[in-house]
C-alpha cells in the first residue's frame, strides 16, 4: 500500500469514525432518555432531531428543494453559494498573501518600519472582523467597489497577517554564516533577498498560506453579512440559521459544505507547496492563528 492510498484510507476512516460517534451518541441519548447510561447526569448536547439530526437526514436534505416550491435542490444552491464565496476568498487570499509577503520583506529590510508598524499589524487582528467588516463595506461602497470585491478585501484583511509574520520569520531564518558568505561575495541587498532569504523563507511561507486560505474563507463568509449580499455561503448560513428550529439539517448541511470549501482550498495550497518545497525542507511552524 503506498503512501497516498494509506492517507486516503486514514482520512475515510476518520470520517467514518466521526459518523459512528455522532450516531452512537445520538442512539445512546435516545435509549437512556437524555442521560449518561446508568446515571441521572444529563448529556451536554440533546440528541433529538433538532439538536442532532441524523446524518442521513442531513445528506437527504441536500437533495431536496431548499425552499418549499423551489426548483433547485439544496446542494445546488449551496455549491453555487460556495463558488461565489470561494471566488471572493481566493481573491482576498491572493491579495492578502501578496501584501503580507511584501510586509515581511519591508520589515526584514527596515527595523524602523517593523518597530513602527508591527503593533498596528498585531492590533488589526485583535479587532473582530465582525466590527471591521461593516466599516470596510461602507468605505468600499463609497469608492464604488463591487460587493464581491468588498468581501475579498475583508478576506484579505484576515489572510495577510499569518503570511506577514511567517515571511518575516522565514526571511530571518538563514544562519549568520550564510549571510556573511553572501556578503563576502559582495552580493547586493536584492541578491541577498532573492538568492538567500526568500528561498530560505519558503518552508515557513506555506504553513502560513494554508492558514491564510482558511482565514480568507472565514473572512469572506463573515464579510458577506454586512455587505448585504444575497448570494454566498454567509448569506445561506444566516438564512438557514434563522429557520433552524424547523429545518436544522439544512444548517448542518451548509456548515458541512463551508468546511469542505476550506478543506479543498487548503488542499490546493498544499498541492502547490508540494511542487515548490521538497519534503526534506518542510518545517513545522506554529503559525499564529488569526481571530475571526
Amino acid at each position: 500500500m503506498n503512501h497516498r492510498t494509506r492517507s486516503i484510507l486514514s482520512f475515510l476512516g476518520i470520517v467514518a469514525s466521526l459518523a459512528v460517534i455522532w450516531e452512537g451518541y445520538k442512539w445512546m441519548g435516545q435509549t437512556t432518555g437524555g442521560t449518561w447510561p446508568y446515571t441521572t447526569v444529563r448529556l451536554p448536547i440533546r440528541t433529538n432531531a433538532r439538536s442532532m439530526p441524523h446524518l442521513w437526514d442531513i445528506a437527504e436534505s441536500l437533495f431536496q428543494p431548499a425552499r418549499r416550491g423551489g426548483e433547485d435542490i439544496l446542494l445546488v444552491i449551496l455549491l453555487r453559494s460556495a463558488w461565489f464565496t470561494f471566488r471572493s476568498a481566493a481573491g482576498g487570499f491572493l491579495v492578502g498573501s501578496a501584501f503580507g509577503f511584501g510586509l515581511g520583506i519591508l520589515f526584514v529590510r527596515s527595523s524602523i518600519a517593523e518597530r513602527g508598524l508591527m503593533p498596528y499589524v498585531v492590533a488589526s487582528q485583535t479587532v473582530p472582523v465582525i466590527a471591521i467588516a461593516p466599516i470596510l463595506v461602507i468605505w468600499g461602497g463609497r469608492l464604488g467597489l463591487p460587493q464581491a470585491v468588498q468581501v475579498a478585501v475583508i478576506a484579505a484583511y484576515l489572510a495577510f497577517f499569518p503570511v506577514a509574520i511567517n515571511t518575516l520569520r522565514g526571511l530571518r531564518s538563514p544562519a549568520a554564516t550564510a549571510t556573511e558568505l553572501l556578503r563576502s561575495y559582495a552580493a547586493s541587498p536584492a541578491q541577498q533577498l532573492w538568492k538567500l532569504q526568500v528561498p530560505a523563507a519558503l518552508p515557513f511561507l506555506f504553513p502560513a498560506l494554508r492558514i491564510a486560505a482558511t482565514a480568507s474563507i472565514i473572512g469572506a463568509i463573515v464579510g458577506e453579512l454586512p455587505a448585504g449580499l444575497s448570494r454566498g455561503l454567509g448569506r445561506a448560513i444566516l438564512g438557514f440559521a434563522s429557520s433552524f428550529s424547523s429545518a436544522p439539517e439544512k444548517l448542518f448541511a451548509s456548515v458541512a459544505v463551508s468546511a469542505l470549501v476550506g478543506i479543498l482550498f487548503v488542499g490546493l495550497v498544499a498541492l502547490v507547496e508540494r511542487s515548490v518545497v521538497p519534503p526534506n525542507r518542510r518545517v513545522t511552524v506554529d503559525a499564529e492563528r488569526p481571530l475571526a
Binding site: A175, T177, E180, L182, S184, A186, A200
Partner: protein, 259 residues
Amino acid sequence: MTPTISLDNVSMVFGSGTDAVKALEDIDLAVQPGEFVSLIGPSGCGKSTMLRVIGDLISPTEGIPHVNGKSPHQARLDRDYGMVFQSATLLDWRTVLENVALPLEIMGVDRPERDATGRRMLDLVQLDGFANHYPWQLSGGMQQRVSIARALSFQPSILLMDEPFGALDEMTRERMQMELLRIWEETETTVLFVTHSIAEAVFLSTRVIVMSPRPGRIVDHIDIDLPQPRGFDTREHQRFFELITVVREALRAIENESP
C-alpha cells in the same frame, strides 16, 4: 613585494564602557603572496576576529588593514576573498553544482560558463559525479569539500578559513588536509587558516602565528621549515615533531603567564 595581507597596529574592541572587551590589541602582521599562515591560540584569543577584520565582515576600532594594497572593504568588493567556515553553510535548496556556482551567479557570470567552472571545481575537490546531488545527501566531509570548491570557484587570491575541519573526524580531517595542500599548490592562493589543532597548523602551514587571549595579541611567529610538498611521511618527519613541540611550548608559555 607588497604583502597580500598587512595589519598595522590593528585593535578591535567590542562593546563600550566597563563592558568593553578588547578582542585584538596592536596586531602587526604581514602575509606574503602564496604563504599558508595558521592562527593558533586558546579560545578567546581573537583569531576568528582577526579573520573577520581582514575579510571585512567587521571593521577594526583602530589601525589600518591592507589587503592586496587595498582596504578590506575594497578587496571584498573586488572579490579577493574566498571564505570557508567550520560549518559548510551550503544552501539546501540548491544542488551541489548550484552551490559551488553561487558566487559566480552573484557576479553575473552566465550559466554555461559557471556550470563549466563549477564542474572543474568539483573535479578539484574530487566530487565529480555529485554535481546534481543535494547537500543533505552528502557526508560532513563531502559538504566541506563542496564549500571549499565554492570558495575557489571565482579564483580569489586569498582563502580565509575559520576552523574548516573542526567538525570532521580524524580520518576525514587528514584526508582533507592533504587535499587542501594540493589545491593550495595548484591554485597558488594565499591561505589564512584558523585552527585549534597544533598538529594541523604545523602540517599545513609555512608559518604559524601563536596568539594569546584577553586581549588578543600575537605572541610568536614560528616558521615551519618542513620540506614541500608535504605528504603522509611529513607526519613521521623528525622535524615535524620538533615543530609541534615548539608550538606547544609557545602555547604553554601563554597559559603560565595568565593567572
